[in-house]
Amino acid sequence: MSDDRHDDMEIDPLERQLRAALKPRDPPEGFAAGVMARIAAEPAGPRRARHSPAVAGWVGFGLAASVVLSVLLAHQWQVRRIEQGREARRQLLEALRVTDEKLDLTYRVVNAQPRAALPQHSGA
């Protein structure tokens, strides 16, 4: 390191002694071989573990297709639910119509009876 880097730092015997005391030490023999042995034991290196662009493309395509399929299925389910609702409404209206006809018929039958045949309620 050049001396200009020490501008704001006092250089004294203690600092010089620290530099001497902290001289780098070599690791034990076979250190690099140990590292490489551990790397060799790795199941897969980082670059090998990565997918190739083609594989990554297919994975992306698969994901996109899954999303589209999910949206279509959800839409189809919603359409079916709406259809079921409409059918239920139609059946209810039909039932109401039939009931209305029956009531109307009953009303007409009752009103067609001669008034005389009706029991007289004397007020006296």
Binding site: R5, M9, L14, Q17, A20, A21, G34, M36, R38, P46
Partner: protein, 183 residues
């Protein structure tokens, strides 16, 4: 980090990135001294330092694609080594009180100068908190300036300077109080 001839070749990283195992092994040999030394000074335990340094290179192998240049590689190795060491010291504080087994080192590796004073300084360094120790190591072992230390340890430059000032004061006081005079 190393003056070895193979380390001066500029294409080692490119070849390693291309998947060439021999090139990666050369990269390990080029940087092993610096990585191991940082781990050793942080953990004060040769076996733990060797394990940590190996883990760092394994992590480098897995993340090599993220390294963009030789200078980035050096920066990356320092950063990962020190962060791993600090994490380990916080997780297992026993390493903080372990004595550095300098006596077991071969005589050829002993640094020049006053070996007793050097050893005492390293012992006192072990007493510093992990972050302060990392700052001192980057300053006096790796010869980085405060701005580079701040980038490596992801801390403000003023914090780095404050660590350095406090650590030097502490080391000076303890050296003096234990009658280890500097010449």
């Amino acid at each position: 980090m190393s003056g070895d001839e193979e380390c001066t070749r500029g294409d080692l990283l490119t070849r390693a990135l291309g998947g060439e195992r021999a090139a990666f092994a050369a990269l390990v040999r080029c940087h092993q001294r610096a990585v191991y030394s940082l781990a050793l000074r942080m953990l004060s335990d040769r076996h733990a330092a060797e394990d940590l340094a190996q883990d760092v290179f394994l992590q480098l192998y897995r993340n090599l694609a993220t390294v963009s240049s030789e200078s980035h590689l050096t920066f990356w190795l320092r950063k990962v080594t020190l962060h791993r060491a600090i994490d380990r010291l916080r997780r297992e504080p026993r390493y903080e009180v372990a004595a550095l087994a300098d006596a077991e080192l071969p005589a050829s590796e002993a640094p020049a100068g006053d070996p007793i004073l050097d050893r005492r300084l390293r012992q006192l360094l072990d007493e510093l908190p992990p972050a302060a120790r990392a700052v001192v190591l980057l300053r006096y072992q790796e010869d980085l300036d405060p701005a580079d230390i701040a980038r490596t340890l992801r801390m403000p430059v003023n914090t780095v300077k404050s660590h350095l000032k406090r650590s030097l004061a502490q080391l000076r006081e303890r050296i003096t109080s234990t009658a280890w005079a500097l010449t």
